[in-house]
Structures are given as structure tokens and as C-alpha cells.
């Protein structure tokens, strides 16, 4: 395994788009070559070395390459976009679109991540240890097909539109979410261990959502069918008792979506 260490050196007055930062692009390149790769700042294309110091060479292949970003980069977007293998470790917070369209490999963000992490991701894994904002694993505007494979794990909270249009794969939120978690999903699994504000599973036509905490405002188009305990989805365990709902009957698709809601935290439902 070859490690390439990028240390942010500033110049982030305007945000930077760095989709070039993937193990695929770094593989087979020297530190020098990597520094010459171009990133976008506004309409300018500038060398990566203007923003990061580069240490270490890429491995022989993507799988063989680890990129370590040693610092905070909330204003750098699109790290790991469409990567197919290898590893990216961000030791601080990441900007928008981290791991967007990702196909394989692993991304770890030790801090927070901005919106659109893992948009339309197809494979691999993203682990965000802090919080994130909107559209985790979501579909692009106008599309009904979001993330279709792989796994996103958020240890902290997410805000809106988690997993919008999810088709496959898993999203696990350790903390809480706000609005439209699992909007219009048709497959896959979303587990929220904390609370949700409203509109969980709205317009869902398939797939599974589990909410371990309390849902402040329940989505009206769901019907309770059962109570189940100690849910298990492969390696993902959700202990405790859950009310099982099907829906969303607001959408004329026969309510093939499944929504589990913790019994203890949602007595009024």
C-alpha cells in the first residue's frame, strides 16, 4: 500500500473542486506528478500543489493507493468522486460531494461532511465520523434513482433528504435526521438510530427504513401492520421492539415500503 499525504496549505478563499483527488488518478504517479494535477477554483484550473503539499507517491493501482488528507477541507468539493478502489482518509471535515458517484473503495471522513456525500453512489463505503448536511446518498435533481449500492455510515447527524430515491445499498445514521429521510426510496435500507423531525419515508415505494428514536411528526400515509423485535439486516442489528408500517399510501404504488419505528420512543403512534 502506498500512502499519498495531502496537507492543505490554504488559498481556499473560493471553494475548490477537486474531483481529480481519487486513488484512480493518483495511482502510478509520483508526488510531483500528483501536485501537477489540475483542480478548479472558479473558472481557473490550477495545480493541486497550489492548495496542498504532496508527500508520497501513488501505488501501482487504485486499490494499492491510499490518500490521506491531513487537515480541514470544508471548502474542497468532490474528493473521491467516482473512485473505483483504494482508500481516502480525510482527517478533518470534507466539502460537498465527497464520494459522489463512487463505485468502489473506501472513504473515511473524521470530521463533518458537507451536503451531497455519496450522491448516486454505486459501491464502496463512506464513513463520516462527524455530522453531515443534506442529500446523503441522494439522487441528483430530477432523478428518481439515488444511491444503488455500497454503504454510507454517519456517526453524527444528517439534516434533510437522506437517501432520496435510494434504490439499493445501506445508509446508517448514528445520530438524528430532520426532514424527508428516505424520500421516494424504492429499495435499500436506511437506519436512523436517533430521532427524526418529519416526513420519514415520504413517497417511498419500496425498501426499508428503521428509526430507533422518536419521529416528531409522522408521515400520514402509513399503516401499521405488525410489531417485530430485534431486527437484523445482514450485519446490521437493530435491537428492541419496532412497530412495522407499510406505505407510503399517499403514492399510488400499493405501499410496498416498510418503515420500522421504535416502540419505546414512539408510544403515541
Amino acid at each position: 500500500m502506498a500512502d499519498v499525504i495531502l496537507k492543505p496549505i490554504g488559498n481556499f478563499d473560493l471553494t475548490v473542486e477537486a474531483e481529480v483527488v481519487t486513488p484512480d488518478n493518483f495511482a502510478g504517479k509520483s508526488a510531483d506528478d500528483i501536485g501537477k494535477l489540475l483542480v478548479w477554483q472558479g473558472p481557473e484550473e490550477l495545480p493541486l500543489a497550489d492548495f496542498f503539499s504532496v508527500e508520497g507517491n501513488g501505488g501501482s493501482s487504485a486499490e494499492d493507493t491510499t490518500i490521506i488528507i491531513d487537515g480541514e477541507i470544508p471548502r474542497v468539493k468532490r474528493i473521491g468522486q467516482e473512485m473505483t478502489g483504494g482508500k481516502v482518509l480525510i482527517k478533518g471535515s470534507a466539502g460537498m460531494h465527497v464520494g459522489s458517484g463512487m463505485l468502489g473503495g473506501e472513504i473515511i471522513v473524521e470530521g463533518d461532511a458537507e451536503s451531497w456525500a455519496g450522491m448516486e453512489m454505486k459501491g464502496g463505503s463512506i464513513h463520516i465520523k462527524g455530522d453531515t448536511k443534506d442529500h446523503v446518498g441522494c439522487a441528483y435533481r430530477g432523478s428518481w434513482k439515488g444511491m444503488s449500492g455500497g454503504r454510507i455510515t454517519i456517526d453524527g447527524n444528517a439534516v434533510s433528504q437522506v437517501g432520496g430515491g435510494l434504490v439499493g445499498g445501506e445508509i446508517i445514521i448514528g445520530g438524528s435526521v430532520k426532514h424527508f429521510c428516505g424520500i421516494r426510496i424504492s429499495g435499500g435500507l436506511i437506519v436512523v438510530k436517533g430521532n427524526a423531525v418529519r416526513t420519514v419515508g415520504a413517497e417511498m415505494t419500496g425498501g426499508t427504513i428503521v428509526v430507533g428514536g422518536c419521529i416528531e411528526r409522522f408521515t400520514p400515509g402509513f399503516e401499521m401492520v405488525d410489531v417485530e423485535s430485534d431486527l437484523k439486516f445482514n450485519d446490521i442489528e437493530c435491537p428492541g421492539e419496532y412497530k412495522k408500517f407499510t406505505g407510503d399510501y399517499a403514492i399510488p404504488q400499493k405501499g410496498k415500503g416498510t418503515l420500522y419505528v421504535s416502540c419505546n420512543n414512539n408510544e403515541c403512534l
Binding site: W40, Q41, P43, S115, T199, E203, G221, F222, I251
Partner: protein, 437 residues
């Protein structure tokens, strides 16, 4: 001199029956058929506060300069910017907006318009669902049920009810108001709500749940009982409203910012649009947005056909990109992600939250407008605006996306420019000359 059939450049209603009597000698204008807002705007032609000279701000002091100096300085600001932002406001023609878009594309900047802080979420909702709508005359001729949802038509588009929505006598609605049932859904008791046959007073931020429950009812299912507390509306009223719709021959729903701007944003619109789509399996049902600014629909149309996206266009990579929240005005300013701004025919400073406004005041800003306002106060360069539909011709799109061609009844007060389109073309020429030098 009396001029008839003038188009009003104030709101999306684009009333085309305004009559003006302009007395140039005495500097007065008499206006008929326009609403209060329209009348006030027509007075701008003879107003005393009209901006008539370009100004620049030097060391905090505002001074008059020649048009050429102002355009030079504006071009300098844009050319020296690393990431310029263009706010191409809706109180001007598509023709002017088109030049603005071309400059933004040329410089690799970003361009947005009033939709972003108005019906942007409505457009985003359409992108999620599509929209079953019609030109305004369909409701006028056919609708026997009108729903104003989250919109206070009487105050935001004062002539909507009389021209398009409720009162007009159409082909199958010869008795006007008497042939129609009017419903308003609003958390406030607005004048529109007061004028309705039924006012559904929902809790703020609960439009999604109310629509979702009505949709569930439409699909023959019982909504979860908690929805009564969430929305403040009894399920029986929801059922009654759905039944009223199904029993009508033609339902026209108008949505406003109450739906698209409250929590839920484009998802509120999305569920409304989906509901309307399904309602068409039972009766004829249309939906449309009441658009407050005169040509806000025009920018959406123009930007879509020229570049593929309706607002929030990002040209930084040399081709159009679009992602509201990332490439849109309020977010770019809040995140301090642009370094110069060109604001045309919209008082942007007034319309955006403090954090964004503060940054806009920090960066070099060029402002093109007709009257003093917060944006012109904070601008480095102020270019006087020409009033569309009064002083030059051009195109607006009205609320239902029908384009109207407007013609002036007087001339531009400036010998240096015929129209905002003309001003922008002059600016573009200077920008090109500097960039290519």
C-alpha cells in the same frame, strides 16, 4: 397623449390592458386599469427619485460619473473578479437577461435570478414530478373550483382573481364568481382567505403533511390520525375538500410561496404536483404558481432553453451546471464563494438574509436599477435602468409561461442607452475588449 393596451411590468400577471395618459410637459402620468402596485410603478416614469446619472463609490463617497466611466469601472470589476456572480433580476426583459447570461458564460461566472428566492423550489418540485397545468384562460373558461394554496392573491397579484382566477366570465363560467367555489389554504386569515367559501387554516410548515393526507384519502386510505394535530386540520375537512375537488368539473389550484418557501420547500410542491396528477384520474385538475415578480418566469424559460437549467447556473467549468444550495445566490453569498457581483433590476440586498446581504455589501457590486434602494446604496457602481414596457420594447413571460411582447409609450430618458439590453451589450463589449487585451 393616451396609450392603450400597455403591459404592466410589475408582477407575473402581465396585465395587458393598462391605459396611460402621459403628460410630458407637466411631468404627470395618469394610469387606468392597473392595480395599486402597477400604478405606483408607472409613476416612476415621472418620479423625482429616479436614478438618472451613473454613480460610483470612491472612498466611501458616491459621485456622479459619465456612462462611459461607469461602464469602464463595471467592466474592470467583472474582469478582475476570480469568480463573478450575476443576479439577473426579473424586473427587466428576457432580452436584457440573455445578454447577462452571455456575459456570465463568457467569464465563467455564475448567474441566478429572482426564482431562487421566489418560486425556485416550485421549479425544483416540477423537476421532481412534472406539472399538470394550463395557460391562464383554461381556468377562466372552465374552472368551477379555485384553490389558493399558500398564496394571498389579493395582495401579491391583486388582479389575479379578477382577470384569471375567480371573477372573470368565461365560456362555461358565464356568471363569473357565482359559477365558482373558492377555497384558500393558509395559516393566516388573509384578505384572500376572508373572501373564500372555505378557508383551511393549517399550521405553518405543515403543507406537506396536509397534502400527503389528502393524497392518502384520494387513494382510498385513512391517513394516520396524528396528522390532525400536525396540521391543525380535522381529517373530516380534508375529506370534504378532496370530495369537493372530485365533484367539480375543473379544479384550478394556485400555489404561492406559502407552499414553496415553508419547511419542505420543493417537496411540498412535489407532493402537490403529484396529488394533482392523480386527481386527473377523477376530474380535470390543473396547478399553477402565482409568480410575484414580473418576468421571473421569463428567466426560467430563457435560461432553460439557452443553457438547460432554469436558475442557479454555474458556468465555472465552461458549461452549464445546476445545483440549488450550491450554485444559487443566497448560498454562494453566505458561503463567501464569489468575489464580485452584478445585480440587475432586482433589489437583491433587500431580499436576502443578513449573512448573505452582509457579504454582498463587502464585495465589489455593480447595480443596475431605476430607483434608490438598499442595493444601489451598497453598490460600487450604479447604472441607471431603463423601464421596460414603458421606455423600451421586449419580452416578459407571464405567470403561466406565455410570452408577451411589450412596446413602450415613451423613450429611454438616456441618450447613452436605449434599454437595459443595450446597456448590457455595451458592458459586454467592454468586458470582451479588456479580457482579450
Amino acid at each position: 397623449m393616451v396609450y392603450k393596451n400597455i403591459i404592466c411590468p410589475v408582477c407575473g400577471g402581465s396585465c395587458d390592458d393598462v391605459q396611460v395618459n402621459l403628460d410630458k410637459k407637466n411631468g404627470t402620468i395618469d394610469v387606468q386599469n392597473a392595480c395599486k402596485m402597477g400604478n405606483a410603478k408607472f409613476q416612476e416614469v415621472v418620479s423625482h427619485h429616479r436614478i438618472l446619472k451613473p454613480t460610483i463609490r470612491e472612498n466611501g463617497k458616491v459621485k456622479d460619473v459619465s456612462w462611459d466611466e461607469a461602464l469602464e469601472m463595471a467592466a474592470d470589476i467583472l474582469v478582475n473578479s476570480k469568480k463573478p456572480f450575476f443576479f439577473l433580476g426579473s424586473e427587466t426583459s428576457c432580452e436584457a437577461q440573455e445578454v447577462g447570461l452571455h456575459i456570465a458564460e463568457y467569464l465563467g461566472g455564475l448567474a441566478d435570478s429572482n426564482a431562487t428566492i421566489c418560486h425556485g423550489p416550485t421549479v425544483m418540485g416540477i423537476q421532481e414530478s412534472g406539472m399538470v397545468g394550463a395557460t391562464a384562460g383554461q381556468a377562466k373558461n372552465r374552472a368551477d373550483m379555485i384553490v389558493y394554496w399558500g398564496v394571498n392573491a389579493l395582495e401579491s397579484m391583486p388582479r389575479h382573481m379578477s382577470r384569471y382566477g375567480v371573477f372573470p366570465r368565461g365560456y362555461w363560467t358565464k356568471r363569473g364568481r357565482f359559477d365558482r367555489t373558492m377555497v384558500t389554504v393558509d395559516p393566516r386569515v388573509t384578505p384572500t382567505a376572508a373572501a373564500s367559501d372555505l378557508h383551511v387554516q393549517l399550521n405553518p410548515n405543515s403543507d406537506y403533511e396536509l397534502l400527503s393526507a389528502m393524497f392518502t384519502i384520494l387513494n382510498g386510505k385513512e391517513p394516520h390520525p396524528s396528522v390532525e394535530e400536525i396540521t391543525g386540520v380535522p381529517i373530516s375537512v380534508m375529506k370534504q375538500t378532496v370530495e369537493m375537488m372530485k365533484e367539480s368539473n375543473f379544479v384550478a389550484i394556485y400555489v404561492g410561496l406559502g407552499v414553496s418557501s415553508s419547511y419542505g420547500k420543493h417537496r411540498n410542491i412535489e407532493i402537490a404536483l403529484n396529488f394533482v396528477k392523480e386527481m386527473n384520474n377523477y376530474t380535470k385538475c390543473n396547478i399553477g404558481a402565482l409568480r410575484g415578480h414580473c418576468n421571473v418566469a421569463g428567466f426560467n424559460q430563457l435560461a432553460s432553453y439557452l443553457y438547460g437549467y432554469p436558475f442557479g447556473l454555474d458556468f465555472t467549468k465552461g458549461y452549464p451546471r445546476y445545483n440549488p444550495g450550491e450554485t444559487t445566490c443566497v448560498d454562494l453569498l453566505r458561503e463567501k464563494d464569489v468575489d464580485a457581483a452584478f445585480v440587475m433590476s432586482a433589489d437583491l440586498m433587500d431580499h436576502i438574509p443578513a449573512e448573505s446581504a452582509q457579504y454582498l455589501a463587502d464585495i465589489p457590486m455593480i447595480c443596475l436599477d431605476i430607483a434608490p434602494c438598499p442595493s444601489t446604496t451598497a453598490a460600487e457602481v450604479v447604472l441607471p435602468g431603463v423601464i421596460d414596457a414603458m421606455e423600451c420594447d421586449g419580452t416578459f413571460y407571464r405567470l403561466d409561461n406565455v410570452p408577451v411582447y411589450f412596446e413602450p409609450f415613451t423613450d429611454s430618458p438616456f441618450s447613452e442607452t436605449k434599454s437595459n439590453e443595450d446597456t448590457l451589450k455595451q458592458l459586454f463589449a467592454k468586458v470582451k475588449a479588456k479580457k482579450e487585451a
